[in-house]
């Protein structure tokens, strides 16, 4: 068996000073070589493990036959954004994690193949020809993130007038404000949105559903037959410790939004500033924490720490992101739990952490961090809190009869919320999860909405 083809990457010493994409993608030769490793299993476990069940063996076969356009269309059938998912999906726990080759050797690099096809279609402007039969019924989509985009594409293809409402001034949701340029170039998101416009999806920026327009107004004044809520998990979780409001303490959302959406890395050409000191600690161990740490490094911080209360093995971030962070010189300070942020004149100076040890396994299957009597004080100029996000409460607050659970997640039964004609999917329902799960929910909701509309007739 030939070895798995390694994704070429930008040199860490160069990339830690810029925002260029780190993973460079395969060329045609590498794609063909990697595709040839697929065993074309009779019962492809990769397809089952994919949240949207892409016919992976089929598109790999099409690659081997040089039918790149067909291969792209195979993915597009189930996933409208292969260029994006090829980059940000946690393939190691999904398709690649299930790949039979991985048992004895290394799994096929399915994500890299998907990314290649996505980029190939963008570069060669391949668009699947769609014959849309118009039905002149209006559907409103709330949010232009992964769930909203996937729902919009699917509902538009069924013939509906599809209007997407976005609260911010750019489209893409978390793909724009959350995920950094070096992991997902913004031009890819913009091109994908343009393609959806060509499909006939209408996009409206600066409209906050729940403020600018209420759900009730969408139905009564704008004649929408159904509404899909995909407004994501935008509310940052706080540590709930002393000193959190000191200057120099950021939530990851603010820190990343300043850079990704407002382009503070181009300050003063972009008018939004960002302040980063010599030593930065990021609290948390997920992908957002890795994004924040690597962004801090690129903004010029000399020492960047990940402060995490469990061990290296328990980090929820993708392995690839952890490796990229290590390569770029991010230092992992593990088994530490921040208990107090210490400042002077309202500015952060130190963070006091409790030393943890690993105990019994908890519900997540990981060893529970148990506090000790020991403490460590770390001198820092900035602290970035990246311990999770929960659903944005704006729609709930404006829509009293919309049922949510104790965590603010919209309660659904097969995507249908407590309000007839209002559907929801993605992080607003599940809490912070992955791009592909949100896309899968958006796509499936479209079918559910169509079924609902047909019952109205």
């Amino acid at each position: 068996m030939i070895n798995r083809t390694k994704m070429p990457e930008l040199n860490p010493n160069i990339r830690k000073n810029n925002f260029s994409e780190v993973a460079l993608g395969f060329d045609i030769k590498q794609v063909k070589l990697e595709a040839s490793r697929c065993l074309d299993c009779k019962n492809p476990r990769c397809v089952t493990a994919c949240p949207v069940n892409i016919d992976i063996p089929l598109f790999i076969k099409q690659i081997l036959d040089d039918k790149f356009e067909d291969a792209y269309c195979t993915i597009y059938h189930d996933n409208i954004l292969p260029g994006i998912c090829g980059r940000v999906c946690p393939q190691e726990t999904q398709c690649e994690g299930a790949c039979v080759l991985g048992i004895k050797y290394e799994s096929v690099s399915i994500g890299a193949l998907e990314r290649f096809l996505g980029d190939y279609s963008l570069e060669n402007n391949i668009l699947k020809k769609e014959n849309i039969i118009e039905n002149h019924k209006k559907i409103a989509i709330v949010g232009s993130g992964p769930a909203g985009l996937a729902c919009a594409a699917a509902i538009r293809r069924l013939g509906y007038i599809t209007d997407v409402y976005e609260a911010l001034h750019e489209f893409g949701g978390v793909l724009k404000y959350g995920i950094p340029e070096f992991r997902l170039p913004k031009s890819i998101v913009d091109t994908e949105i343009k393609r959806l416009e060509k499909l006939g999806v209408n996009f409206y920026k600066n409209v906050i559903i729940g403020k600018t327009l209420t759900i009730d107004q969408l139905f009564k004044e704008y004649d929408y037959k159904a509404v899909f809520i995909g407004s994501g998990a935008g509310l940052p979780s706080s540590l709930g410790i002393k000193g959190e409001n000191l200057n120099g303490v950021y939530y990851a959302n603010e820190f990343l939004t300043r850079v990704n959406l407002m382009r503070a890395n181009n300050f003063p050409l972009s008018a939004t500033p960002i302040k980063i000191g010599k030593t930065v600690a990021v609290v948390g161990g997920g992908n957002v924490a890795m994004d924040a740490a690597r962004t801090a490094k690129r903004l010029g911080a000399e020492n960047v720490y990940i402060v995490y209360r469990r061990n290296m093995e328990a980090l929820p971030a993708r392995l690839e992101e952890v490796h990229h962070a290590i390569d770029e010189g991010i230092i992992f300070k593990l088994l530490l739990n921040p208990v107090e942020i210490i400042g002077e004149a309202y500015e952060i100076k130190k963070v006091r952490c409790q030393v943890m040890v690993l105990g019994e396994k908890d519900a997540s299957g990981r060893q529970r961090p148990v506090p000790t009597d020991e403490y460590q004080i770390i001198d820092v100029d900035n602290l970035i809190i990246a311990i999770g996000q929960s659903p944005n409460p704006i729609i709930k607050k404006a829509t009293p009869n919309l049922k949510v659970d104790d965590w603010g997640r919209v309660v659904v039964d097969d995507y249908q919320t407590s309000i007839p004609g209002v559907f929801a999917g993605g992080d607003i329902v599940t809490g912070a999860a992955t791009v592909i799960l949100a896309m899968g929910a958006g796509k499936d909701s479209a079918q559910r909405i169509d079924k609902y509309i047909k019952t109205l007739e």
């Binding site: 906050i208 600018t212 940052p236 409001n245 300043r258 382009r263």
Partner: protein, 273 residues
């Protein structure tokens, strides 16, 4: 794009704009604000909606930094890149019979829609309005049309009492009893008004304007400590009962990007600040 259909220079530092933004105007209530981006590289600037009709919204902006100076360079017929709103919770218009209001500088702008709502429900209002000099007093005629009494304080004494609004406030509180106070202006003014009113057991509502980005509760930049608990001014405010607000922390948070503001201003050839 959002067209500017009217512009008035209220004084050398403050402009009034009427902007065509029918969607933002639609659901606006007193106390709501907008986020405006002047151009495609612009910051998101929060500004209170002073007035609105079906189609248009009125904002008042003081040239304090780079982005507000960029806004001031725009004229009738020009368009703004982004306008989004209405944001924040509407002001709680409490059922009170008498009210003393305090406006400091451009704080008169966010105060105006609230006071009008109070006047509309029959509350008797005494207003103390302060500014550096008589040119910087804004909306004076509008306030006079519905306030019982309007007291003026200027730093230089060019109109009304020479001195701070708190001096005028103290003399009023010595002889009159009010049900409620509403104070909007610079943080230091609001802090001093709140401290003063406490001596007279007078509850005070204030409107806060910390640094914001998205304005939808996503980034957490605008956090405010009230009685040790954290609130986001963009979604929990911007109007708050002043009881327990940590004004000192807020003042420091507002100053965090002062040196960056200076760098940005250099782009305008402005070396003065």
């Amino acid at each position: 794009m959002y067209e500017i259909i009217e512009k008035k220079e209220l004084n050398k530092d403050v402009d009034l704009f009427v902007i065509k933004a029918p969607l933002a105007a639609k659901n606006t209530q007193p106390g709501n604000f907008l986020i405006v981006r002047v151009d495609k590289d612009g910051e998101r600037i929060p500004l209170t909606i002073v007035e609105n009709d079906e189609e248009n919204i009125t904002i008042i902006s003081q040239k304090v930094g780079f982005s507000t100076k960029m806004l001031s360079n725009k004229n009738i017929g020009d368009s703004l890149e982004d306008v989004v709103g209405p944001l924040g919770l509407p002001a709680k218009i409490k059922k009170v019979k008498t009210l003393v209001a305090v406006a400091g500088g451009v704080g008169a702008a966010p105060l105006y829609p609230q006071l009008k709502a109070y006047a509309n429900q029959g509350t008797k209002i005494d207003l103390i309005i302060g500014a550096q000099d008589k040119d910087h007093l804004i909306l004076l005629d509008k306030f006079k049309s519905f306030c019982e009494n309007v007291y003026i304080a200027t730093d230089d004494g060019s109109l009304g009492t020479k001195g701070f609004v708190t001096n005028v406030l103290e003399s009023l509180l010595e002889k009159k009893i009010y049900d409620l106070a509403v104070a909007i202006g610079p943080l230091i003014m609001m802090k001093n008004v709140v401290t003063m009113n406490k001596k007279y057991n007078l509850p005070t509502d204030v409107s806060l304007n910390p640094i914001m980005i998205d304005g939808t509760g996503m980034c957490g930049n605008c956090r405010v400590s009230i009685n040790g608990k954290t609130y986001f001014a963009c979604v929990d405010g911007p109007d708050f009962d002043s009881e327990g607000i940590d004004f000192d922390e807020l003042m420091e948070r507002q100053r965090y990007y002062k040196s960056e503001e200076h760098i940005c201003n250099l782009r305008l050839g402005d070396n003065n600040d």
